[in-house]
Point group: C2
Chain length 647, copies 2
């Protein structure tokens, strides 16, 4: 561990994007979700989540309803609430949270067990189907909420509830013959247990996490054993995929590629990274690096989206990145951020932060509308609404954001990430401050034994200048490492107006400025942001002959509302100049991209379907407007395209 | 009806392609299928078709096995046998056929009913689920076989069996309240009944066909009525598609677009065309023209394939023609040939023959391997084998032809078409001979009251010259109409060496040569065959920036075996000269296409996934070889691509 993230409380955001998203989470998403959890939203199928806890606590009568993992919706809501409370006081929200924590505590069973489904509906079936049911997953989410709530408020009630549950789980699972040698079908508890270890110092939680990590995929296969005990044929429900679906096809140390359900995979890899770092397990860390490379160099969309197929919501194979059929679940990009953030602390290599930034500004932000009221579960890179309506193999692709989903994993997941974005921006080592993300903000770090305030003034990602004011309590030597983003071909950096030589001071994508810092010193980082045309590796067959537009970390797209229908008929000439324009009136304030392009002339076709090609095809000149991918479909529905034909 | 096809017996083929395919059907496919029908092929799941008939005939004991439409496999086999017998004597094959006809006759019930499933398994459920089961479909196929066998051999036994069955069906279905107001879920009997009318003169068969055509989609909806009678919820099995799946969403005269299962649709449209022509129903014929235009101008692949999606094996919507996910069932291209052939007789417009030719040389021939032993059910236009193996949404795409299918509709369907290809080549009107397809052959027509022999000498589609020797019994005036294919931009025609003015004599794509023909007169048709680059309408999003190569009616493709892996990295420059070469040693003798192209250089990528585009992308010059699409995957499996990037 080279450095650690600084506490969320230590970061105050003033940034246009993240601050507005924080406010949306606080003012729109959390209240809406609370109503949803309480079945109070007309026209939306009831969640039943709170009601399930009431029944489990003996405060109500009735049957369990909802998915087997319904408890996790409340956990994610509580976790998001904790982050809001960490950032700013909110007594009313805290009171609501305290009450629901009392309810959760009341639903805990005498032995420590906590899961409303198995408490209400099938009390004798605890732990009998780890493969398909989500007991350990739900436990993990509630552990995360408990630690976050404790860190935000200092209140220990939920933390103690979850420690009791974790103790019970540790009694239940392990290598001893009297215990179960199982592990969760949906990873999550691995990273949550390490968080519980961080929150409590309880080493048995780390040990249990390591057990779950290493037990995965071992033979004889637990999913076969438990299936036989149930009297089931030990056959997977996604029979074409098999154990890959939940990354249980091999012991994790033998895994070479990211396989199966992409959220499960990235939660697992996050937990593996945690265990590797905390236990000093270099072999396991090397596995994480290998899987990272596989994901980000061969299986990731330019938006930071992952998951190339609906079936199994999964990774498929190298370079298979279809744009219209992408699954690219919002939760998977969120999980990629989690994995990136952990690897970043381990290796302090900007390659992790680069992907984290890419996912945040593109594949994560796209999941939530600008008004915070509707959500994409799936984030394709090309949308033809008629195809989405008619084609069965595009059934998963919604052409507009939806109010709420039956399986409501993405909205609360986005909420907890967006409410805690401050945690991802800085790390502090012994005497080095790391700045990973640029956004107007103030951070307080402890460095070289004293407090140091770092004040970022910037309109990143729209503008290229980032000014960082350094305010140590007193003049002292330490280093500030600023990330030089991979998208930037020509960064420059000055300290108190004096240009620094980046070739000397740069390591793994960070420029290290070590000096005796005086209060009031200023770093000026300049990250020139020309509009870039990005090509994909030629092995990505879908993007052959196409480019994506990017400016800074922001990926752009064409929308029908700006560019008319049939975006595949738009050709961007190689020599066409593209310019960026700040539009305060548009989409909450964005930089748009403009330029001349060509559009294939449909007139001469006269209803024909095929004709001899008369070179070059007849075109007319048009002006195109590209908007940030994450903001698409906030005006009106229509076609959208990221990868534009180039000629 | 302007003209009628001439009998199959009147055409003798010498052509390289069709004659070799006829021999394959005779020597490979028919014997193989006979073994399959008799459950004698090791390693192939038993068909049980013959055994079902034995059980139904009381000659064996046992249970029905196979699909509910298993009988139709035998019917299609018999129909193919009939065509072989029409072309040349084959006493042994005829003996086998006669014996199986005896068996079929013995399986007929006293009331005329004939269907082994309902006779053996569910005798009390006849006609209770027209929507999902295939009684009328199986009946139709056996009627076609019966007429074909009668026309080939003069033997009436099966014809009489099927007339009895048709009489019974006519007693069962109709507008009278005591009858059922139903119609088949899978159309086929409509066209078969018109064929039975042609074979017997029985007008009630035509009337019954018209009833089925016009009853389709009427309200109250028969599929609801029969579902209620069964006690089922009247809900369709393809619930997303609904009645569209079997073209029962509207009365046929109100249908504007081709919807649903593509084979069902095209069988229905074929039957509608038959009824329209035979009853002089101009309104219905106009509906057929409208549906034809919808299929061929907006929903057809360049190969003559149709059906853009696996789910429902169906038409989707205009211009939705994805290449890798195409369903393009061999049977659907065959059905398109049926529809084209009927519309051609009605309107004598070359647009129908052009599509017929396109489908035959490409989407139909691709379905069967050059050795006649393996078959494609699905004929995509782009194949990336790894995607086919891994992706669930490409599960239907086989990357190699298969030996036999559980649902073995395509192989026998291809067999019956390929065995009867002579029927599609000529039509004869009062005093006009129409030549639709070019192939070395001899045809005997009755024109202006006498026999006329037309002898085609040509190596079409590989060579551009077609010499037609005209041999009337005596000198007499009549017209010969030769099709000027739509792919040919500069046809020319000479009679006895004297150039004809085609602008004068051409109507609807046929050059009419009316004169007093002398024995020994010669028509020389020259159809220049440069290699053509074909563009798709810009609304076909998948083909933007791409061209297909075509020479004459033959569509070409790139294969990995000739051009290496990753065909999407191949770019065909607009100015690259493409040449054609006759290769007698390759793929049974084909013309291949050669030229210089570029391949994107993968080296500079060095493992990266995305990089700023440095224009133009680094490429290296390569030599490409394209082979006829229909012959792909006859050497070794690998990638295949029809639509090539152009720059």
């Amino acid at each position: 561990m080279k450095a650690k993230p600084i506490p969320l409380q230590s970061v105050k955001l003033q940034d246009r994007i993240w601050q507005s998203r924080f406010q949306l989470v606080r003012d729109e998403v959390i209240p809406y979700q609370w109503d949803a959890l309480n079945d109070r939203i007309p026209g939306v199928p009831p969640s039943h989540a709170i009601r399930n806890f009431r029944i489990a606590a003996g405060e109500s009568e009735g049957e369990f309803k909802g998915f087997v993992f319904q408890d996790s919706d409340l956990a994610k809501w509580l976790e998001a609430v904790a982050y809001v409370l960490a950032v700013e006081p909110n007594p009313e929200l805290e009171k609501t949270a305290d009450e629901v924590i009392d309810l959760i505590a009341n639903a805990q069973q005498p032995d420590g067990y906590l899961n409303t489904y198995f408490t209400i509906a099938e009390p004798d079936k605890r732990w009998t189907n780890l493969r398909d049911w989500h007991e350990l997953y739900c436990a993990g989410h509630m552990m995360e909420a408990a630690v976050a709530y404790y860190e935000a408020t200092g209140k220990r009630k939920l933390l103690e509830v979850m420690c009791r549950f974790a103790d019970y789980i540790a009694e239940t699972f392990g290598p001893e013959p009297r215990k179960l040698q199982g592990y969760p079908g949906h990873p999550e508890i691995e990273l949550a247990l390490v968080r519980l270890y961080h929150g409590t110092g309880g080493e048995k939680y780390l040990k249990l996490s390591k057990y779950f990590v290493d037990q995965r995929g071992q033979e004889p296969h637990w999913y076969d054993i438990e299936a036989q005990r149930r009297g089931d044929v030990p056959k997977y429900y996604f029979s074409d995929i098999g154990y890959n679906y939940s990354q249980a096809h091999l012991p994790v140390r033998q895994q070479e590629t990211a396989e199966g359900h992409s959220v499960r995979a990235l939660y697992l890899f996050s937990g593996m990274a945690d265990v590797a770092v905390e236990t000093g397990d270099e072999e396991l860390l090397e596995v994480c690096r290998r899987l990272w490379d596989n994901v980000t160099l061969r299986r990731m969309y330019i938006t930071g989206g992952v998951g190339s197929e609906r079936y199994g919501e999964r990774f498929t194979f190298d370079y298979d990145l279809p744009n219209d059929r992408a699954y690219t679940e919002t939760c998977a990009s969120i999980a990629l951020v989690f994995f990136a953030h952990r690897m970043l602390q381990a290796d302090m290599d900007a390659k992790y932060a680069n992907v984290m930034e890419r996912a945040l500004y593109n594949g994560v932000l796209s999941g939530i509308s600008l008004d915070g009221k509707s959500f994409f579960y799936v984030n394709p890179l090309e949308v033809w609404p008629e195809a989405g309506r008619v084609r069965h193999d595009l059934q998963h692709v919604k052409t507009e954001r939806q109010g709420w989903f039956a399986c409501a994993c993405c909205p609360p997941n986005a909420a907890r990430l967006l409410a805690s974005i401050g945690r991802y921006m800085y790390s502090a080592g012994e005497d080095t401050a790391y700045i990973h993300l640029y956004a107007a903000s103030t951070a307080e770090l402890v460095l070289a034994g004293m407090k140091v305030r770092l004040i970022q003034e910037t309109d990143y990602p729209w503008q290229e200048k980032v000014t960082i004011k350094v305010e140590p309590e007193e003049a002292r030597e330490f280093a500030i490492a600023v990330r030089l983003p991979d998208w930037c071909e020509d960064p420059s950096l000055a300290v108190n107006g004096k240009e620094a030589d980046l070739t000397q001071a740069t390591s793994r994508g960070y420029a290290y400025i070590r000096r005796t810092w005086q209060p009031g010193d200023t770093i000026e980082l300049t990250l020139p942001m020309p509009v870039q045309r990005i090509s994909a590796n030629p092995k990505v067959r879908e993007n052959a002959g196409r480019v994506a537009l990017q400016r800074g970390p922001v990926v752009y797209c064409l929308e029908e509302v700006d560019n008319g229908p049939n975006l595949s008929a738009v050709i961007l000439p190689r020599d066409s100049e593209l310019s960026a324009q700040w539009r305060s009136d548009l989409l909450g304030g964005v930089v748009t991209i403009h330029g001349k392009a060509l559009r294939i002339d449909e007139d001469r076709w006269n209803g024909k379907l095929y004709m001899p090609a008369k070179a070059p095809p007849a075109t007319r000149e048009i002006e195109i407007t590209a908007v940030p991918y994450s903001t698409w479909c906030n005006r009106k529905p229509g076609e959208m395209l990221v990868w534009i034909r180039e000629a």
